[in-house]
């Protein structure tokens, strides 16, 4: 009889590495998803990982069509449940490279429970959370990240819900890798993707993604040339928090971040908050830089890798227990199991 392991050992590597599948990509023209697909494809190609060892698992929503467009293994599952499917897959196949594609509705609304448990367990997966602050596939209802007052098809008088701050939520769930990127900054997105893939554990990247049909321009202030420098803050490990083309910085006044005017000499670079991606407390403050950019004196929105820490993955713990049990009690003997502890014989 052939076992699963034998089947896998018998497989041979393919000759060329082309990660695009033969399927026509069916997102709306101009959708931010195209850029994200392109960046993922690019880094996969650069890394040259065998296609058969890569798996993309998605839930439901526009973003979740993603797996169909890559020539890797893939599953387009059901709404919100990708984290659970990933957890089972990783438990039995800890060697694969697993990616999870999800959206703000998929992972923060219907699948919110699964996401926080994925993070606390620290399943080794790269989670790409496409956040467009709207329900696209169902044609334009507000999402759990839509701002209060958002006027959408389901909220003609404005949304009455307070939105999630996704990264603060993830930090609260003890995520071991937290980052933010955007579709319109491909270079930064690729850098973050590479770092996420290198991290062992759940790497969560929130990607601001423009839905040009139902929520066009939601992130304009972060992506447009004229406003980007003043509203974004690109954090780099070991570097001070500087924005507005180097004219402004952020320093920590106790636990409170404060904007200082470097150009006016209010502070020097040495006074600024130096980003330390290993500092859990600072990361907890960083994720809270979530001001409405319309407000006077709003803190810029951070992008980049906020936080990385090492913690064992749940699949390694699951498999370690299996190994430990095998070592302690020997590889399971089915006859001994069927017999149990106490038997009697008749005849």
């Amino acid at each position: 009889m052939t076992t699963a392991t034998e089947v896998l050992n018998g497989s041979i590597p393919p000759a060329k590495l082309d990660y695009a599948s033969d399927q026509e990509v069916r997102w709306c023209p101009g959708c931010g998803d195209y850029s994200i697909l392109k960046q993922v494809e690019t880094i996969l190609k650069e890394q040259g990982k065998p296609k058969e060892e890569i798996v993309f698992i998605s839930g439901i929503g526009c973003s979740s069509r993603f797996p169909y467009y890559l020539d890797t293994y893939g599953m387009h599952s059901i709404h919100g449940r990708a984290p659970a499917i990933v957890s089972g897959l990783r438990a039995v196949r800890p060697q694969l490279s697993v990616w999870m594609i999800t959206g703000d509705g998929d992972s923060l609304s219907i699948g919110g429970n699964h996401l926080i448990h994925l993070l606390r367990r620290n399943v080794d997966v790269n989670v790409l959370l496409f956040n467009n602050e709207i329900y696209g596939l169902t044609k334009g209802q507000y999402s759990p990240t839509s701002p209060e007052g958002a006027v959408t098809k389901s909220t003609p008088m404005g949304s009455v819900d307070h939105p999630f701050n996704p990264l603060a939520l993830c930090k609260g769930a003890d995520a071991t890798f937290i980052a933010r990127a955007m579709d319109r900054d491909p270079k930064q997105l690729r850098e973050v993707l590479v770092k996420a893939d290198a991290h062992r554990g759940t790497s969560l990247i929130e990607i601001y993604q423009n839905c040009n049909v139902f929520n066009d321009g939601a992130f304009e202030v972060f992506t447009e040339k004229a406003t980007k420098p003043f509203h974004t803050l690109f954090v780099e490990h070991g570097k001070p928090l500087v924005f507005a083309n180097g004219t402004k910085g952020i320093k920590l006044d106790g636990m409170t971040p404060v904007i200082v005017d470097l150009a006016a000499g209010e502070a020097s670079l040495e006074d600024l908050w130096i980003h330390d991606e290993r500092d859990s407390f600072k990361a907890s403050i960083l994720v809270r830089l979530f001001d409405d950019q319309g407000h006077e004196g709003a803190m810029p929105r951070p992008f980049g890798v906020f936080y990385i820490t090492e913690r064992s993955t749940v699949e390694s713990r699951i498999n370690a227990q299996v190994e430990q049990s095998k070592q302690k009690r020997g590889v399971g003997d089915l006859d001994a199991l069927l017999r149990g502890e106490r038997t009697w014989t008749i005849g």
Partner: protein, 622 residues
């Protein structure tokens, strides 16, 4: 340890039903299970019915808190835990009041007199100082009032244990006493205690002392002049052990995974009465079993789907409310066409219903409970040992036919125990997963994940197999390629292909065979699931009385085997006893256009054989 014996009369009995009842904190379940074990090891046939409240520690002394454990043991083959009991052991007044109706006239009550003080009597609902032990209401029975509390404390005098801990040994006193009463040695119970309290020598000593004190009390007290003896049963030759249904299910799943050469992944969320499957599986990680206590029922099944996708055997189990939550994911597994076993240990519903009681009301849920047309094979186990067989079958079908499979058991057989003539591993059927053929160098042909074999089964390509990358999902897919397709005719074709595949599953299972009775005649009693023992007993008795009755018990509930219609047509009448309002009856009527009659009991309690016999006899007169 040597157990003293004195000369007392010994009466032989063919079979005995004993019911232990007390507060849910009295250790009733343990006492019952231990005595079951002892009798099974001795060679009796046994059948048990543990019956307990949903509350862990319901208010002490109340009717709501009564926990019961009914054991039927005999020198003859037994199929049920017994309709009524011969001996009723009660730890308090509430236990007596809740169970006295189950005692045969002339039966024996063993009552812990300490549990009949004014407070206990009041809590049990006996008014105006009425005491059933003394007021003459029990004249139809033999009543022995024994101050178990006092005698247990006396036996443990001098030990440094607190009073609470001493009182916890009361159940061992009772166990010791019934061991004496039925002429059993204490060796098995002592061995059990050594295993349980091996690391707590003081508790071990106390429990052993209480056990022996109970035995000696029976032996020395002049109240008890008669002991009973139940000789070993003429069971088929072989090696036996005792097993509960949930254990049987767990072992069947492991055995199936082993025979298929697969690691097993069990995703589950705790729920009564299914949790014991998780507990059992978690003990056997050295078989490559990975247990995952998920955040909810949906994650439980979805993680199992992920594991199956990864090339392992994904399994999930729950009870009705949890199964309801898994519905959408079952549809996904059905669309993906990957192996998955879903066990439903049914309990009383709807909603939270009766968590610790039994019912068969999730049949429709199993057969129809998904959106779209998503037929899934449904199997049902008929007894604790059959849980092993059917769990193994569920694995075989899931793997070989690349389909989710639902296995129905219920609270009665899940918690009940019986002797099991366990098989040897080599005698279990091999299971062959339909793995996709690995690509060889130079093979440029496109892999088709939905290309079917003669049984309609698609190949299982596991991530990691080079050249076989493919994408699957819940969206309708094109025949062969598995690519997304909204094409109208393709959808109809796929719906039919998937249904055909499931239909073919039952073509490969054994033909239907009568359980007992005559193979044509006046009445067919058609059953499924845990009603097996009661129907079998009733039919045996009716046949002995000259009635032309047959008993057919279905283990493959959906799809039906096609000869079922022909078998039904051989009888003038069809009676379908079910612990629901007639779900199987509706399915049978719809499929075979036959005027089947229902016998429906929806009380959270299993049928007694007498209930079935009375209804069947009545039906025959019409």
């Amino acid at each position: 340890m040597e157990t003293p014996t004195r000369t007392k009369t010994v009466e032989e009995r063919r079979n005995v039903v004993i019911l232990f009842a007390g507060d849910s904190g009295d250790g009733i379940q343990l006492t019952g299970a231990q005595f079951t074990d002892t009798n099974a090891l001795f060679g009796n046939d046994v059948s048990t019915f543990p019956n307990f409240p949903a509350e862990i520690r319901a208010p002490i002394g109340t009717m709501a808190g009564v926990s019961g454990y009914q054991l039927h043991f005999g020198s003859v083959e037994l199929f049920t835990a017994g309709d009524q009991c011969d001996v009723l052991v009660v730890m308090n007044a509430a236990a007596l009041r809740a169970n006295i109706s189950k005692l045969k006239l002339g039966g024996t009550v063993i009552a812990n007199s300490d549990g009949f003080d004014a407070r206990n009597l009041r809590l049990a609902g006996y008014i105006d100082q009425q005491d059933p032990l003394t007021d003459g209401t029990l004249t139809n029975y033999t009543v022995h009032a024994v101050d178990v509390t006092k005698m247990t404390r006396n036996a443990l005098e001098g030990m440094t244990l607190g009073m609470k801990e001493k009182d916890r040994c009361k159940n061992m006193f009772v166990l010791g006493f019934v061991n004496w009463m039925f002429s059993r040695s204490l060796a098995n119970s002592e061995k059990f205690l050594e295993g349980k309290f091996g690391r707590k020598p003081e508790l071990l000593e106390a429990n052993k002392k209480a056990l022996l004190a109970g035995y000696n009390y029976g032996d020395t007290s002049e109240t008890f002049t008669t002991r009973f003896e139940v000789k070993p049963a003429p069971m088929p030759k072989g090696n036996y052990r005792s097993i509960t249904g949930n254990q049987g299910t767990a072992l069947g799943l492991i055995a199936g995974a082993q025979k298929a050469g697969l690691d097993m992944f069990y995703g589950s969320y705790p729920i009564t009465p299914a949790s014991d499957i998780l507990h059992e599986l978690a003990k056997h990680k050295n078989f490559g079993v990975k247990t995952f206590q998920a955040e909810d029922e949906i994650a439980a099944i979805c993680s199992a789907i992920g594991a199956s996708y990864g090339g392992a055997l994904g399994v999930t189990a729950s009870s009705g409310p949890g199964i309801a939550l898994k519905g959408e994911a079952m549809g996904l597994a059905f669309m993906l066409e990957i192996p998955l076993v879903i066990v439903n240990v049914q309990r009383g519903g709807p909603s939270t219903g009766l968590p610790t009681k039994t019912e068969q009301a999730d049949l429709f849920q199993a057969v129809h409970g998904r959106n779209g047309e998503a037929p899934i094979p449904v199997l049902a186990a008929s007894s604790p040992t059959d849980c092993f067989e059917m769990a193994f079958e569920a694995v075989r079908i899931a793997v070989e036919h690349m389909t989710p499979v639902i296995l129905l058991t219920d609270g009665y057989i899940a918690n009940g125990a019986e002797p099991w003539r366990f098989p040897e591993a080599k005698d279990l059927k091999p299971i062959t997963p339909p793995f996709a053929k690995p690509k060889v160098a130079g093979d440029m042909e496109k892999f088709l994940p939905y290309l079917r074999d003669e049984n309609g089964v698609r190949p299982w390509a596991i991530p990691g197999m080079a050249g076989l990358q493919h994408r699957i999902g819940g969206i309708e897919k094109e025949d062969g390629t598995g690519n997304i397709s909204y094409e109208p005719l393709n959808h109809e074709k796929m719906v039919r292909l998937r249904a055909d595949k499931v239909r073919k599953v039952v073509e490969g299972v054994p033909p239907l065979d009568l359980s007992n009775g005559v193979d044509s005649g006046d009445l067919l009693i058609l059953g499924w699931g845990s009603t097996y023992g009661a129907i079998k007993t009733a039919v045996n008795e009716m046949c002995a009385e000259g009635h032309c009755v047959g008993h057919l018990h279905l283990r493959y509930l959906f799809p039906f085997r096609k000869e079922l219609g022909e078998i039904i047509s051989r009888y003038k009448r069809v009676l379908i006893p079910e612990m629901n309002s007639g779900q199987m009856r509706q399915l049978i009527r719809a499929e075979f256009l036959v005027d089947a009659r229902g016998l429906n009991k929806i009380q959270g309690m299993p049928f007694t054989a007498a209930e079935i016999k009375v209804a069947a006899t009545e039906f025959l007169k019409q």
